[in-house]
Symmetry: C2
């Protein structure tokens, strides 16, 4: 009897009262239901085509030093329903027009015990759900500290997840594919070394997280418009398969400092029964504000090379001299120091890259290690680590600037901050002005190592504010930003399109740090790229690093054809050809694809996709009638079958197909590729095998008769 009674009370407590309200997506397939539980806890659930996606999940925030928090005891005082439909044109992107269509429900809650109001705003799109907490201006709620955000995402089963370990400082991990129930057991081995890392739980994972259910659904959990708040991770209760939001703390353990009026970022759930639709979703951008810049004409996609891979692989060095155990900027005498003979950013070497860029039509050249301070830049918790203005003696900034200009090539600035963000902010105005004065219009910024102010984390509110400050400050100077090691993007580039790329994931550099999983690039578009483009730096042709950097035994786990395909599959308005010029010169025919491939797109079609296995995307270049197709493949060889019916009817094209040879393999035969030119039209079908870690790339250009002469039909 006693046990029964307890059960009954529990049921009462957790059963929803009759204030539930449903909102359905414009196409009727996605349905969110909001409800208030018995104790006044807000909750929601989500279904897609009638299938449960998110079971009833609680919503709310635990506040610091506040006995009531914003968790329960709420009543609904008003509901506002609306619908929205507009089409907007991104400054750059995977397509020239994006439709933003949703139905909205804003539930205005009053906490009875405190008379405080909170709004939960839901937007139900055809491709998913976004919701956020809003705190209107009111007398009873001004400043408050979020101790924990308690947003739940209750899973319907033990799904398959593509996850990386939850971490306050890095996302540079390989993805693990496992059941949710297996995460705990796989956590330790998933946490590989990083220069700054702070994991928090055996079942904590990062967003954007991709899940696949046994009944054929694909679910992406992430956030949109992360501004003035800390980044959200997900902590899994692996008994009940419930994810709860886990925010990045600051140095004192607090998660976010909030002011009413204000709001959290959007929590996003993208859902489909077709993996391709996850890639096609624009919900994350749609939940961000429209562009904040009046003039965006200075923002331009760029294809670039850089004095970079030679340092990453260990062939060259960022630093100039070995004379000093420590450097004091403004005091250390570099002019009279002994050069170390390995410095990469020399005037001579940079000019070689400029020549190469000009010869092959690249827009820009990035140079790292150009400025003084690299001798002791890392691991010393050094505050005044770089001044972003003073070149090494062997880097003649004026000469290089003028030489690049004469060759029609733009220089890309590098600002490694060593995570000393006060120092960066102090120098920011002068450094950006210095860039403009010297013709630099884009900056790659870096946040390697532990954060200063000490104790802060890469993904805490303090740093989120900093990255945003840098983006907005750069916009003042009409500078494009490519931020590495910053917080992963959440669609902010819609508002600030000068954020042309981020790293914020395990990029190609890890192929020179021991290698990444060959299927890594079949996961990233489902996860990291949901929030915005990645400066993945593809294009590696020499997989055996030791060939040019004898002490580095790393092997790039990819075929050349796979590397080419990445320019299509890993969308970014900023694309690097990362390998050394001398490696490209050995494979001029394959290199042609990198030279040809588009950078900005009118249309993108997601032809085939299965996370962890393969992705095939076709994109039509903006302003031309040229298409590019990319296929990346995981561990298992596979034959891709695609239909070229996206081509304009009645037109003839020449397709140049860069593919793996039959015996190609990322492990032992990565440079085995075929290039064939064939005639295609909108009735053509392609059946193309991809090797393990392989893929294919195709350029499809409209052709007249003279150009198709002698070519076979596909």
């Amino acid at each position: 009897m006693k046990n029964l009674l307890i059960l009954a009370i529990c049921l009462l407590n957790f059963s929803a009262v009759a204030v539930a309200q449903k909102v359905t997506s414009p196409n009727g397939e996605m349905q969110m239901q909001f409800e208030l539980m018995e104790d006044g806890t807000p909750a929601y659930n989500l279904t897609y085509k009638g299938k449960p996606v998110i079971k009833t999940s609680k919503l709310g925030l635990k506040l610091k030093d506040d006995e009531h928090s914003l968790l329960n005891n709420f009543e609904v005082i008003e509901r506002e329903e609306s619908s929205f439909d507009e089409t907007w044109e991104p400054v750059w992107g995977e397509e020239s027009e994006i439709r933003n269509q949703y139905k909205e429900l804003a539930v205005i809650l009053n906490q009875k015990s405190t008379n405080r109001q909170m709004i939960i705003r839901f937007r139900v799109f055809n491709d998913g759900l976004g919701f956020r907490y809003e705190f209107p201006q009111q007398q009873n709620l001004g400043h408050f500290i979020v101790e924990d955000e308690r947003t739940e995402f209750a899973m319907t089963g033990d799904h398959t997840a593509f996850w990386i370990p939850g971490d306050y400082d890095t996302q540079e991990y390989d993805y693990t594919e496992s059941r949710l129930s297996e995460i705990r057991g796989l956590m330790e081995e998933s946490i590989t070394d990083n220069l700054s890392q702070t994991s928090f739980s055996d079942t904590g994972v990062q967003t954007s997280l991709l899940l696949r259910t046994d009944d054929g659904l694909y679910i992406n959990l992430h956030e949109a418009a992360l501004l003035d708040y800390s980044a959200m991770h997900l902590e899994l209760d692996d008994e009940n398969m419930i994810f709860t939001s886990w925010l990045t703390p600051d140095v004192t353990g607090n998660k976010a400092y909030m002011i009413a009026p204000g709001q959290t970022p959007w929590r996003t759930i993208i859902v489909s029964d077709d993996a391709r639709e996850i890639l096609a979703s624009r919900m994350t951008y749609n939940l961000n504000d429209p562009v904040a810049l009046e003039d965006t004409s200075w923002i331009k996609p760029m294809k670039y090379i850089g004095v970079w891979w030679e340092m990453i692989t260990g062939k060259s060095s960022w630093h100039f001299t070995n004379d000093f155990a420590a450097v004091k900027l403004g005091e250390t005498d570099f002019e009279n120091a002994t050069p170390n003979a390995t410095h990469g950013a020399t005037t001579k070497n940079v000019k070689r890259y400029i020549d190469f860029a000009a010869r092959h039509g690249f827009d820009g050249v990035l140079v790292e290690g150009w400025n003084v301070g690299w001798e002791d830049w890392f691991g010393n918790s050094k505050d005044y680590v770089f001044d972003f203005m003073t070149p090494y003696p062997d880097f003649n900034l004026e000469e290089i600037r003028d030489y690049a200009k004469s060759k029609g090539v733009e220089m890309i600035m590098h600002h490694e901050t060593s995570s000393s963000v006060r120092n960066y902010e102090r120098h920011m105005d002068a450094a950006y002005q210095f860039m403009k004065d010297n013709g630099y219009n884009a900056v790659k910024s870096g946040y390697v190592g532990d954060i200063l102010p000490r104790g802060e984390n890469h993904y805490s509110q303090w740093l989120v504010d900093h990255y945003q400050y840098a983006i907005e400050k750069a916009a003042d100077y009409e500078i494009m930003v490519n931020a590495h090691e910053a917080v992963r993007p959440t669609g902010i580039a819609r508002t600030w399109p000068n954020l042309i790329a981020n790293e914020s994931a395990r990029g190609t550099e890890y192929q020179a740090f021991g290698g990444s999983k060959p299927n890594h690039v079949t996961v990233l578009p489902f996860t990291r790229l949901i929030g915005g483009p990645m400066d993945y730096t593809p294009g590696i042709f020499e997989m055996d690093i030791s060939k040019f950097s004898p002490n580095n035994e790393s092997w790039v786990n990819s075929t050349i054809a796979n590397q080419l395909a990445l320019y299509v599959t890993m969308y970014s308005p900023l694309q690097m050809a990362a390998d050394l010029p001398e490696n490209y010169e050995r494979f001029p025919d394959a290199f042609q694809f990198i030279k040809d491939v588009g950078m900005d797109w009118e249309k993108s079609l997601y032809l085939e996709a299965e996370p962890g296995d393969y992705i095939t995307i076709a994109r039509k270049e903006k302003g031309t009638n040229t298409w590019f197709v990319g296929n990346v493949n995981g561990e298992t060889p596979r034959t891709s079958k695609i239909n070229l019916d996206f081509l304009e009817k009645g037109k003839t094209y020449v397709a140049t197909i860069y593919s793996d040879t039959k015996d190609a393999h990322y492990k032992d035969n990565p440079q085995a590729y075929n290039i064939r030119k064939v005639v295609v039209n909108n009735k053509s079908k392609l059946s193309q095998r991809s090797a393990p870690g392989g893929g294919y790339a195709i350029s499809i250009m409209e052709a007249d008769k003279s150009e198709t002469k002698g070519l076979k039909k596909l």
Copy 2:
């Protein structure tokens, strides 16, 4: 036998080996002896006129994650002896010329176990000893973290100390006079409430610390040139009466992040058997670098009034409206908010102050609460708390600017940062430019409340760097800085004379927060003022605060005559007349002294001094033949006897003497003063009684016969 053996080992360990070296001050009275102990620990002792001042005291630094540290195992590899004598002219000061004369010993040490070098540089002046640690550039020592500085100051007995509790965030405490052995028992009651405070020990005290020995010595312990290091406190071993340096930690507990080449601040010991010589010491300035500015013509002493005391006392408010529980700068609509009717910084009120300043010849008017953000500025850990640019709707900046200019009065800007230093640094350039654009040449900055970045302390290296950044940045804009709640000064104004004042102690405001000890001002010149001028904001004429601010029961523990004397005894190139104009208008005769008193001095004579009891100082104004004398008195009534032999021989002067009446008392009769004019010359002697918490002030102006007519001789 066993006990004897242990004793013998101890003696061996702590006895000095025969590498001792003595250095004597230019006049032979001060003698420092350096020695290396048996285990290679550096040590020193100090005598004055043959009397021991500092017993053998160890030197060294404990490093983080470094088993050897820089504590022992040293050998002397070189000694450099030199002497120095120069006279320099401060931009402003207590005298027009300062002699910097010392003998120097630099001991170059090598740590045998690590082959690392450290230099200890000693400078022996006639008035004391300064020494610091230096770390030359070397291969074996680059970056290092100071876990603890272990500099000892071994006292010779249970001295009397004038101390305030050691604290990482505030010095705004009343001084306690006690034996060293009594500190522990008095600590708790000495720690009064402050808006940000972090004490660390029952026997930890702050510098600058004044000690008096039973054999008649006065000793001041402090530091000079605190740059890029954390502020030093002193931790007392009250069994052995040994002080050890206790640095302010950062958020992670580390004390300082160091780079070789580099050095610590100077540790200073000022000694005399005459208390007046402590006040006359310029050793702290002498240990700082010469002026770093090429042009200092824009730095000018200022006498000012301000819209300030009315807020401090609670009569008015800094904030403009009560409409908002929280404010978001740039979003909150102040234009349509309801004014609260108590806002002090209204155009009308400010004009009243400008009129008053112009009428009475003041240089400037400070206005606090002029800019938006005061509604929620404190206690909310608010990052973007002020923008330093946007006035409240009832503060017409342009109108006030033009009005002040038309009246020949300068406006003084107020930048309260609420200790959100990232926010301040982000706005600094724009805010300083805004000041210059609107004719403001001086800024009062404030650091009330806990520091952001969170977890940092007011006196940690991060903040020391910030205050210095602000000083140097202000100098770029030719702006004078008066920093409140910043780290206490250490003579840096020699190098950066645009730092015209600091608060960094318990100022007059505490008289409106419940009162300060009546003898407080007889201690400050021996302690806080050793490092530089204080914006003490004297000049209170209405001691009963409740007369104009009914809810404030505070009583100013001082007589009017004492208040006048402060303009002489509390040296500062920035002097406020802090009381309300209406209070001054009730006592125009006493107010005359504030109007007359000089601001910059050719010469200062310390006529009488005993810490805690009385101070009498005479100063000759720069560029005139006018002298001003001030006497402040503690709890006990006392008759001061001074000799006017400093006056120019053969000349006649009129002295206006502002003194306490016989029945004056800070507690119940503070406004009882006499003013008398008498004729004096260099043979005159004055015997003048001062009341408890009283004092006297004298202006002595050269006079011709017509001016002395009818006046008595002293």
